[in-house]
């Protein structure tokens, strides 16, 4: 009998999640007896995800792997799913502990927080002002990364975080917010956008303002979307983990749980070709280190995701 694993994403149509779906399908093929249901709302709202989850419960899927729009709001719906015998994990953007059996971080949050500030600092040997362009003010993962980043800030002498603004993962809002940053901080040297929508918009705004070379846009982005901006010099480098691997791993973990594995602190869950993930006290685990892209390798990866 085939097992139904639902891959619930923040919103359909986002390149990052489309890539994750590719990985999930790859896992399904590898496993043979798995059907992956790739679904999600069309806008990044918690209510939309709840409706999707409710219909998945009704379909009696075997597992739900969700990248949440809201840490807390999904908990009651996911709890209901678990009560009806469905395995629930979160990946990418997590759900509060009560609402899932484990959470798969693409990488560990401290590593990411360090990585994004390091990318900026590496280009600024004398230090300078940097600003953060985040997604929505409610994004779980964004907030954690920014927090982690601020923790390690003292390690980077002379780097000064002057502002955090929110582009809501909307291209135009991010663009406008970036314009505001450029206006307000004439000495701005770098913009860190740990969001794939924001980083593209910020790079575009910097290019349009004629600040290419003066302001470096960095953060987390997709090679396919950033290739042009790396070439133009608006972005020297950026990082991302491989979303294909992430979707693949989430599917593998869900399958492992369906097969009887138990998610508890210290347990190791199988992730196929990605090896195994070890859970910490919060039942969280990290998949791999983020990977840096720059002019030397971005072309090659832009064909993949």
């Amino acid at each position: 009998e085939t097992k139904k694993i639902a891959l619930v994403v923040k919103a359909l149509g986002i390149g990052f999640f489309e890539a994750a779906n590719k990985g999930a399908q790859e896992a399904a093929k590898e496993l043979g007896d798995v059907e992956v249901i790739y679904t999600g709302p069309t806008t990044t709202t918690a209510e939309g995800q709840i409706e999707v989850i409710n219909s998945l419960i009704a379909q009696k899927v075997d597992a739900i792997a969700v990248s949440a729009n809201d840490t807390d709001a999904l908990v009651p719906a996911l709890k209901k799913a678990m009560e009806r015998g469905i395995k629930v994990i979160s990946w990418d953007s997590g759900v509060a502990k009560d609402g899932r059996s484990m959470h798969l971080n693409p990488s560990s949050s401290p590593l990411i927080g360090n990585m994004i500030i390091k990318l900026a600092a590496d280009q600024l040997p004398e230090g300078g002002d940097v600003a953060v362009l985040s997604a929505t003010a409610t994004s779980t993962n964004q907030n954690v990364w920014i927090e982690e980043m601020k923790k390690v800030l003292p390690n980077y002498k002379g780097i000064n975080v002057v502002a955090t603004v929110y582009g809501d993962d909307l291209a135009d809002k991010s663009y406008r917010e970036t314009q505001g940053l450029i206006q307000s901080y004439p000495n701005l040297k770098a913009i860190i956008a740990p969001t794939s929508v924001g980083i593209v918009a910020a790079a575009q705004a910097v290019t349009d303002a004629g600040k290419t070379g003066q302001i470096n846009v960095t953060g987390l982005g997709l090679p396919s979307e950033m290739a042009g901006h790396v070439k133009s010099g608006a972005s020297k480098s950026f990082a991302i983990w491989n979303p294909i691997d992430l979707g693949y791993s989430a599917t593998m973990i869900a399958y492992d749980l369906i097969g009887g594995a138990e998610a508890k602190p210290g347990a190791e869950l199988k992730m196929g070709r990605m090896g195994a993930v070890k859970l910490d006290d919060n039942n969280e685990g990290a998949m791999a280190d983020p990977f840096v892209y720059d002019a030397s390798n971005v072309e090659e990866f832009s064909k993949i995701f």
């Binding site: 359909l12 149509g13 986002i14 390149g15 489309e18 069309t42 806008t43 003010a137 603004v165 929110y166 909307l170 291209a171 135009d172 663009y175 406008r176 917010e177 314009q179 505001g180 940053l181 206006q183 307000s184 593209v200 918009a201 575009q204 349009d208 396919s224 979307e225 290739a227 042009g228 901006h229 832009s302």
Partner: protein, 326 residues
């Protein structure tokens, strides 16, 4: 004289905008530098173009909630054509997109004209249908900067006589719509149909057809804005300009265009858009918490409506005036 000037909505708005800019300049002098003001105008251009179309529709006592969705659909089609056939010359592409926008607008217009469905219902329906069509068309996928040709992205950014082409396009749209509204029968028919649709029939104006044309105009302008939006932000996806319809309507309302139809002007639409544009651009610059922005624009809209209502509410006829003179 002064009192009379103050009653004029457009002049009041001009003062309000100047006062606003002045206040911002107190906290951030760089805001009033000509280059920055030009940038603010440029940033507001798309809103102006859209508000012009919405104005025509509102004048005929209708409303177009589907403008932002039309923009998104036209924009994404422009991006898809460009991505698939980078060789298509940009002017031709723009023409095609304006045509597409007009066709989408004409769907609204036909439903309002031929089936007499209330405009708000029609455009509420087409709003979701247009957005959904984008999803079906693109499968939800984004079209990113690197998929667009350089010429596609360059046009709105190109500079001509010191201003961006985007700004020039909006100026041209303003002039064209101004001529249309004041000097052509169809423009006057917009006013007549909104002011008194019943009477318009008696003067030989086809009310439904006039509304249809207003929707075609708003659709065409939305199509133009679609290309400009997508090329300017260099990205196209299902949700671009989501919720922007309310900004467009707010701009019209601030500009004194009566939601009940028949009252309004091109100047009002432009100034209303600029007012919103200045606020939107100023808030991040003067370091107001991003969380307060929404509340502030809400408050501004309410104040603007209240002020407009004040200037609009006339005293009744003065019957006693002559008696006093005796």
């Amino acid at each position: 004289m002064m009192a009379k000037l103050l009653k004029n909505r457009e002049i009041l708005l001009v003062f309000a905008i100047i006062a606003l800019v002045f206040l911002i300049a107190l906290r951030f002098p760089g805001f009033v530098e000509p280059a920055n003001l030009a940038r603010v105008y440029n940033d507001t251009s798309i809103l102006i173009i859209l508000a012009l179309g919405q104005m025509a529709v509102i004048l005929t006592r209708c409303i177009d909630l589907s403008m932002a969705a039309n923009l998104a659909l036209s924009g994404i089609v422009a991006a898809m054509i460009n991505a698939a056939f980078p060789g298509v010359p940009i002017p031709l592409l723009i023409l095609a997109v304006v045509g597409l926008g007009a066709v989408l607008g004409s769907i609204n217009g036909l439903l309002v004209w031929k089936l007499d469905i209330p405009p708000i219902v029609v455009t509420l329906g087409t709003l979701t249908i247009f957005r959904g069509s984008i999803f079906l068309l693109s499968n939800g996928a984004w079209i990113n900067a690197h998929q667009m040709s350089d010429a596609f992205k360059a046009l709105p950014r190109a500079s001509f006589a010191g201003f961006a082409v985007l700004s020039w396009l909006s100026v041209m749209a303003i002039i064209a719509v101004y001529l249309l509204m004041t000097r052509t029968p169809i423009g006057r028919a917009f006013f007549a149909v909104g002011g008194n649709p019943h009477a318009a029939v008696y003067t030989g104006i086809d009310v439904g057809r006039t509304r249809f044309l207003a929707y075609c105009l708003s659709g065409a302008l939305a199509g133009l804005a679609g290309y400009l939006w997508v090329s300017r932000y260099a990205v196209a996806y299902v949700d671009i300009a989501a919720g922007f319809e309310l900004d467009i309507i707010a701009a019209c309302v601030i500009g004194g265009i009566s939601i009940a139809g028949g009252i309004g002007s091109v100047g009002g639409a432009v100034l209303g858009s600029l007012f919103l544009g200045v606020i939107k651009n100023a808030l991040p610059v003067i370091n107001i918490s991003p969380f307060a922005q929404l509340a502030i624009s809400g408050t501004v809209i309410i104040i603007a409506v209240a002020v407009n209502a004040r200037t609009e509410s006339r005293k009744g006829r003065v019957i006693l005036k002559k008696a006093e003179a005796v």
